[in-house]
């Protein structure tokens, strides 16, 4: 994927930058030098990718649906926006990097880190003790901050906003950490119980940050002090503004554009052609209202399309050990946003475009 390749190349250049800018002793260089940092780059890349995938899932039925093009543009200088959505991208990417680093650490993928064993053997509560492999979030936090924050080399308010949102993403990983226990007494009883701290599902972290996205606050910079033009005063103004915001909250500086409309200079495709959900069980309220939000409120109509699908069904497990399935053909109805036609005359040509579901 393009954004992740750009991200990875930036990470590689940052490795060199870090190594060249720090005074390494020979021993430190050999033990913790480029080999150690290179070991993290694949995790950083995979973590950023998981962040993007989660972004697509969380915004699947929003007008802004985490498009690839918007992410690509945001890596170029000068074209960066500081909207509410950009805040989410920064937070979820940082969370994804931290999450993956922490997971890989617990799985023993890195030589110089392991489980968080600070509590091993201690009494935790009534009837249980700390044990197992607690996820080492402090390690993931430290390395993720090192890699992700290094992408921000400016000192303006926009860079400060991005750094803040990066930290909010990492704090989301810590906030969703949960105690998990295992019963290992006789015959599976809970007479003996061991507990450890474990990362939540990344989906839970995405949902947590989605709520933060909805509650994000817009920064109003002190314009009088900004007008002075003194860079030292600017930093003071930035520091004053940020001290009023909790580190766990997302912040942005610019109002979001109209995501209904196509705006290629911003990498936005608008909602025309987007799929939406109309009916069906197990749909959330947000999903059920997606046609209204994506189509009607954007001045478009809902177009119904009948699509035939083939899938496995009636699977049976046969002893021992095979699974056999039948093949079923099913007609499903899907809904897409289409332009309203001004004239009342029916058009002759039928649309042949097929839009695949994303996310």
């Amino acid at each position: 994927m393009n954004p992740c390749q750009i991200f990875a190349s930036l990470v590689m250049s940052i490795c060199c930058h870090i190594l060249s800018s720090t005074a390494w002793s020979v021993n430190n260089f050999l033990m913790t030098g480029p080999k150690a940092y290179l070991a993290y780059t694949s995790s950083v890349q995979a973590g950023a990718q998981s962040g993007i995938e989660e972004c697509k899932h969380q915004f699947a039925w929003d007008r802004w649906n985490c498009p690839e093009s918007a992410l690509q543009l945001s890596t170029h200088k000068g074209l960066r926006s500081a909207t509410r959505e950009t805040a989410f991208v920064h937070a979820i990417s940082a969370a994804g990097v931290m999450y993956t680093l922490t997971k890989n650490c617990s799985m023993g993928d890195f030589e110089n880190c392991g489980c968080d064993d600070s509590k091993i053997g201690k009494m935790g509560g009534r009837g249980w003790v700390w044990g197992g492999c607690s996820d080492n979030v402090n390690f993931g936090d430290r390395i993720a901050k090192l890699f992700v924050d290094a992408l921000e080399n400016g000192h303006d308010s926009r860079a400060a906003v991005n750094l803040h949102n990066n930290e909010a993403g990492r704090l989301a990983v810590k906030a969703t950490l949960k105690r998990t226990c295992k019963c290992h007494g006789l015959s599976g009883s809970c007479s003996i119980q061991t507990c450890w701290m474990q990362l939540a599902d990344f989906r839970d972290i995405g949902s947590y940050l989605k709520i933060k996205h909805d509650q994000a606050r817009k920064l109003e910079m002190d314009k009088i002090r900004m007008r002075a033009g003194n860079s030292a005063d600017n930093r003071g103004a930035i520091a004053d503004t940020f001290s009023a915001v909790a580190r766990t909250e997302l912040i942005f500086m610019e109002d979001s554009p109209d995501y209904c409309v196509k705006n290629l200079s911003m990498g936005l495709h608008g909602t025309e052609g987007r799929e939406c959900l109309q009916s069906g069980k197990n749909l959330s309220q947000w999903e059920r209202r997606s046609c209204r939000r994506l189509c009607h409120e954007c001045g478009l109509k809902v177009e119904e399309r009948r699509i035939e699908t083939v899938s496995s069904c009636n699977c049976k497990f046969h002893w021992c050990c095979t699974v056999k399935c039948e093949t079923c053909t099913q007609t499903v109805t899907r809904y897409f946003c289409a332009k309203r036609h001004r004239n009342r005359r029916p058009h002759n040509h039928s649309r042949k475009r097929q839009h695949t579901r994303r996310g």
Partner: protein, 296 residues
């Protein structure tokens, strides 16, 4: 940072059954997006719970969140005595489908009906030893469709025997493996004679003679040993030939549940029996699975 030679990863398989409409299938999948999938490994010969189950390879980690083979063996060990009771023909299949699950592209869970049959047949026996049906085997969480493991001959119905069933702690084969399994599943074991047997509500109260020799101390303390009284749980009316004969010396096993000491096994101390003598000799070198060692 501390460098560890081997690290284990703990995960939770959260089995959440949403309210599904009739006919809609709920797909069980791997629990976490970011974890490595389980590996296909041979069932080791010393995983005795699952020898002869009908397949030879299993998934590790298994469906009970056991991460290492050492953990699987340790946790499976306490279930081996239940197999000896033959309380339901599907016992081994149910347990092994979770402890040593079959290697498939996605996990195959036991069917709810299989679980319910084993639970209904075996939970009275487990209760006699002071064990409730465990949370890890709650039947409601298992699937009811065709994508699950059932006993191959599902239509067979068990025929009731003519005589009443023997009390579970008294119904033991004079066999080394069985005795050693029960020894490991019990907290203590002593050699002694029976002084008195009395009915008490649904249980039978067994008073032992003062003269005792400890075979396995376990959690028992010396002062408790002197005035030890054991209870045959839910054993007021079931036959137990050992308790009827107070002249013999017995190998008696038990465990403590709340404030009661429960009888978990009783064998005649029969030095003339070759199997018993072999067992006592083996007992000196036999090592039970150490539960605390598997976890840090």
């Amino acid at each position: 940072m501390k460098s560890l030679a081997s690290l284990s990863l703990w995960r939770i398989i959260i089995l959440i059954l949403p309210l599904v409409s009739l006919g809609q299938t709920f797909e069980y999948g791997w629990p976490d997006n970011y974890d490595k999938p389980p590996q296909c490994v041979d069932i080791p010969v010393d995983l005795r719970l699952c020898q002869g189950v009908g397949y030879h390879q299993m998934l590790l980690p298994n469906l009970l969140e056991h991460e290492s083979m050492a953990e699987v063996k340790q946790q499976a060990g306490s279930w081996v005595p239940l197999l000896h009771k033959n309380c339901d023909p599907g016992t081994q299949l149910l347990l092994c489908s979770l402890f040593a699950p079959v290697c498939m592209e996605r996990p195959i869970y036991p069917c709810r009906r299989l679980c319910e049959n084993v639970r209904d047949g075996c939970s009275p026996i487990m209760a006699a030893f002071g064990f409730p049906w465990p949370h890890i085997l709650t039947c409601d969480k298992f699937p009811q469709d065709d994508m699950c493991i059932n006993t191959p001959n599902d239509t067979s119905t068990s025929e009731p025997n003519g005589h009443p069933p023997v009390c579970p702690p008294c119904d033991n084969e004079m066999k080394m493996d069985v005795i050693l399994d029960h020894m490991c599943a019990s907290e203590f074991a002593i050699k002694t004679k029976i002084q008195e047997v009395k009915r008490e509500n649904m249980d039978r109260k067994v008073t032992l003679q003062k003269k005792k020799r400890t075979i396995k101390m376990g959690t028992l303390k010396k002062k408790d040993l002197k005035k030890l009284t054991l209870y045959l749980k839910n054993g007021a009316d079931c036959p137990c030939t050992q308790l009827d004969n107070t002249r013999n010396t017995y190998l008696i096993m038990g465990r403590k549940v709340d404030k009661q000491y429960l009888l978990t096994g009783i064998h005649k101390w029969d030095k003339s029996n070759r199997e018993f003598k072999k067992t006592m000799k083996k007992l000196k070198s036999h090592k039970c699975p150490a539960y605390e060692n598997v976890f840090k």
